[in-house]
């Protein structure tokens, strides 16, 4: 999947932007390891709400980078900073902003 997305990017955007996206993901992964996020959610993955490096940290890194790049701030350094911020959001903010469902709310299973 990553290779296909990389191929798509090679066709549609310039090398600097591709490099910025890659560095955003790489810095998110590195900071994710430093702040001790798990690499993968526990199995079965499709029902797991665990915040891990692969999901959703990389998705947040890619999405935030795309937003920032489209707003006009581009470049390798911006990519790295966005990656770091994404990992920190995953570790410290995401659970607070979007908590996993714990107790069933009235009317929900």
């Amino acid at each position: 999947m990553f290779m296909i997305i990389l191929f798509i990017m090679i066709i549609h955007v310039d090398v600097l932007t591709i490099l910025s996206y890659i560095l955003a993901v790489v810095s998110a992964v590195i900071v994710g390891f430093i702040v001790r996020l798990p690499l993968l959610p526990e199995r079965p993955i499709r029902y797991s709400f665990t915040i891990s490096i692969i999901f959703p940290t990389t998705v947040i890194a890619l999405g935030l980078s795309a937003m920032v790049f489209e707003l006009g701030w581009g470049g390798i350094l911006v990519g790295i900073i966005v990656g770091v911020i994404s990992a920190l959001i995953s570790k410290y903010l995401l659970e607070m902003i979007l908590p996993k469902p714990t107790e069933p709310v009235e009317g929900e299973s």
Binding site: M1, H12, V59, M67
Partner: protein
Amino acid sequence: MNEIIGVIIAAVLCWLNFVLIDTWMGLPEQPGVKGAEVIGRDVKKRGGDLAGGFFQGNIVCSPDASAGTILSSIACYTIGIPAGGFVAALLVFIGNRLCADPGYAGTTGALTIMVIIALASFIGIPPEQFIVGMLLAIVTIQGLDHPRASILLGKIAKKMGRYTELT
């Protein structure tokens, strides 16, 4: 490419994208929230399939691969490839978490349709035709005949080993 043919091809690609990913991610296995269960059981009562009903209910109650597919198509149309797909994936993930859903189906759907749109651009199908195609695709699941659509979805779920164990 002729616009009508392009829309039909896009509709087929969107249909396969969201149905296969949603089934793979276990939408027919269990209802995520009470609303999805009510829809699933109602569809079964009307002669449909329970797993297919859960699939339809889950689509209604949270943004899954169907929402990812249409949002990614719209984002690719407005801000381009690949930025549109990445932004759509993030937005669908946030929407999923707000709806008590882990978010794998939606984000995967958004990213895969971005890849499909990029590849389809080589044969002359632009993102706007994917927007129309996705609307047609979702009509076949949610807008024409719930029981018959649910039976088809149930068969696909059985084939992919994602059929519900609930009765």
